[in-house]
Symmetry: C2
Subunit: 603 residues, 2 copies
Amino acid sequence: MEERSNPELYAIRHSLAHVLAQAVQQQFSGVTLGFGPPTETGFYYDFDFRGRSVSEKDFPAIEKGMRRIIQEKQVYNRTDCSFEEALAKAETLGEPYKVMNIKMLKERGVQHFSFYSNDKFEDLCEGPHVSDTGVLPAKAFKLDRVAGAYWLGDERNIMLTRIYALAFETEEELKDFLRRREIAETYDHKKLGKELGIFHFDDLVGKGLPLWLPAGTVIRDEVETYAKEMEFKAGYQRVSTPNIAKKQLYLMSKHLPAYEDSMFPPMICHHEDTGYEEHFYLRPMNCPHHHLIFKSVQRSYRDLPLRLAEYGTTFRYEQSGELSGLLRVRGMTLNDAHLYLRLEQVGEEVRQMLGMYMAMYKTFKFQDYRFRLSLRDPDGAGKYQGSREMWEKAESMLTKLMDGTGLPYQKGVGEAAFYGPKIDIQFKNLMGREETVSTIQLDFLAPENFDLHYTDEDGKDQRPVVIHRAPLSTHERFVSYLLEYYGGALPTWLSPVQVVLIPVNEDCHDFCEDLAEHLHGKFVRAELDFSHESFNKKIRTHTLKKVPLLLIIGNKEVQEDSVTVRRFGVKEQQTLKRGVFVAELLEEIRERKNFREPITSIV
Amino acid sequence: MEERSNPELYAIRHSLAHVLAQAVQQQFSGVTLGFGPPTETGFYYDFDFRGRSVSEKDFPAIEKGMRRIIQEKQVYNRTDCSFEEALAKAETLGEPYKVMNIKMLKERGVQHFSFYSNDKFEDLCEGPHVSDTGVLPAKAFKLDRVAGAYWLGDERNIMLTRIYALAFETEEELKDFLRRREIAETYDHKKLGKELGIFHFDDLVGKGLPLWLPAGTVIRDEVETYAKEMEFKAGYQRVSTPNIAKKQLYLMSKHLPAYEDSMFPPMICHHEDTGYEEHFYLRPMNCPHHHLIFKSVQRSYRDLPLRLAEYGTTFRYEQSGELSGLLRVRGMTLNDAHLYLRLEQVGEEVRQMLGMYMAMYKTFKFQDYRFRLSLRDPDGAGKYQGSREMWEKAESMLTKLMDGTGLPYQKGVGEAAFYGPKIDIQFKNLMGREETVSTIQLDFLAPENFDLHYTDEDGKDQRPVVIHRAPLSTHERFVSYLLEYYGGALPTWLSPVQVVLIPVNEDCHDFCEDLAEHLHGKFVRAELDFSHESFNKKIRTHTLKKVPLLLIIGNKEVQEDSVTVRRFGVKEQQTLKRGVFVAELLEEIRERKNFREPITSIV
């Protein structure tokens, strides 16, 4: 949580953390304290319960103790002190972790310390706090869960008990958060992924390496086809490159040794006859391969901008504790492209690129996103690669461009990468947390590392600028985002099963078969449900699977050559002539029409 | 060369090899002899020239010497002898390599040796030979090239000089071969790949790991889209799986250790905290991943046949000497699918599968292929996996099926894999050599290794049968085959550039731009040539690139809203109304019409 964004809430959460510690120590004698900071949604405190176990069953009693402290309107007092005084105080309080912390702070150069007290409770603390516990919102906090947490986050240390709590300024905000979280859990992509048969992990393959099941592969393929169409129209050329390369490539790209920890270890081929060793790596990024394609022939200014696109598979050796569903994986396929262009072309190219991004977002009905233009720190000269002139030109082009679009955006001064400025597009997930889904990244360094050049009008060698871009992120991240955004109820064009035909009785089977075959011939993902389940059970089953269109076929429909359409999430059924329905369906799919409402709108 | 297929030609080539050795020894004193066998297209002989160099410049003189020997009608005489006699003879002849060879043969258990002599020349030889040199076709052979060759193929040995020769029964056959070879060289996929910008190899990535350039990626993508459409219509479901997996998977699949030599070495992840090691391998085949997907949920008889398709990328560590363009690579992407079905379903499923194969071949205009049904060796009981009953049922189903199709096919008794019978489809390349492009492979072993099962109607667990199939081979092999088959002049739907618009003068630019934009919007790969080259130069450039359609736009065309179409390989131009042309073009692409004639037809 950023302290500056809402200092009042920060102080509330911080003070509530103290109140939690105070209440716990009142109820459990001898418990000592670790750290207890505010978080994005509340706060936590780490306790050493000295072997006693504590669980959610203890929460009501602790919360009651906290509310009593709030009722007592205990005033916060600050005491400033020196290292020696702080140490003595922590020892008197019988708090060994505070003692350790004070010593660590001293080692890091801290000389002034402070404690905050209220009633008999006192804690090492920088502040700030509210004036007294009476101003704390007694109904806007809630103890949430218990977890183990190693002291200092190091698994060689003792494991403390962390109590997480939620806290907001008002009860309504807390309730709203809880409601949103419940929805988010219902629509968690890991849960949906299992229910809808999207992906599967298998220990024989390895952690963080998803096997995409048929339903998930449909979504990937549809997203990919869409991206390819948009890229074709925008003049991109597709390439396809191996997802391994020799060590030498990653020495040139400088991924080695800087990035080695995030890469899988090498495959080492021994050549016994020559004693020669070849090291092959799984690639962590696609760019080096694309740079080699740029270099594979002599390029002229007439070739620029050269736009090389690839849905390229890359691998990163994430720590196994950090792996989570499709969101954090070890193998991923990125909607990648690299553009090679003259500095003067950057403005116009990025303008067109943003147009493509916005068009894509519109197709997916994304609304809650914002742009951030990340620029140099003007005091950071020397820190940045590329000439000052280059930076100034690029930054002024991008600023002028962003101003020209009329899009609201923030400037992130000092947030540029050391190799170039960038535009990040931030999305909010269901819980309101922001993630960078798309970027547009200028790169002044790669052209140097790879010695990229083109011949200008005068026959002279020039360095191009490189742009990395990926509007639709990786399949893994993007599909998980889509699943959560729509709560699994994807638009028809993206749905693994688009239409299920349900006959009311056996007399209608022929009609259903004939229509299903016709639709299948048009590449519609249509299925028949001829099972012996009851009609209502069938409707329920396919609704749980969030199939966008159910066709109910009874005798009347057969006689009138029509279909009764039940659209997911829409109460009214509609009966249409068969031909009209088919034409509308094909258009809906072809035009990627989107009748689905994102889950955020019901939050 | 198979001796049995044409024993006369074998004897001719074998005898000519002796004549070559004889002529060389007449001209270069002190030269000693290695091996000199017939080949598929002639013969070679290995010589130790003792440091002297020999080149193609020496060929006319050597050939002259050979023809003189032929004119002299020297009679071949055979001498049979014991090991000691053979050794003595070779030593007397001053042939150290023959001495070594005799000793090696002895070690391998050979007891009877023979020599063939004509005039003063004598050579260790099993025969057979022609009666005398006079019957050898003096005009049907030709020395071809010189190469280095290690004695016994071992690079630790001395390098001998190998002279390759072509030899046929008649002069016409030799001429025909030379003509075909010239065409094959012109249309060699490595040459075309460079000219047309199909693929590129880079040492920084590694040998045998192609980077597909934009033109090549178009072909891959089009082939892939076509395969996906055909597979969708045939009820296949696509999956997408990681191209690495843990060692445990390849122990289960039995790739390890049996197949280890053909795999890249493992990536070994050390977990320092636990001391645990994880070994990841690049996958050599896609099947194990698919089997895990089959196993990921409980399967019922209602799910069968389950057809899982993936254009899956695999890696094999081929010896670097064996790598050749796209034909033999270390990374490849296979048009793969695995079917899981009951034994009784095999016949009907394979029948439908063959229907898909034939439809695909028709689209590509493949004609010169043949089927081989590979069955058990009836005497090989115990060698084969799966019950005798299973084999009998499967073989009888496949035989009945092949008989029923009316397709000509051969039975390969004893050529089944140990894990199941198969159908191979053999294609002839430009040089008439056969390759297996597609297979349909039954597998009784994988279901055991992976303990695959489904629940039958009675709720009992049953083993499915697995079929591996790949009609369109790997992208690497298939695209190289397509390039050679069409000499680079691909059908419009596969062509990297489909249409080039060439204005006759600047007044026609707007019309061209407008039309190009319209075509581009319909996903046609259309390009404008507004360069300052002459009209004829432009036509030549795009014809060399084998662009299927050139549109010539002059004032008349602009006035009449028409285009003049020049189709590659067709002399007559055609002027069409713009709308008619566009409609015909879109249909040609959509329907994958194929006006191109394969190169084989002009051979």
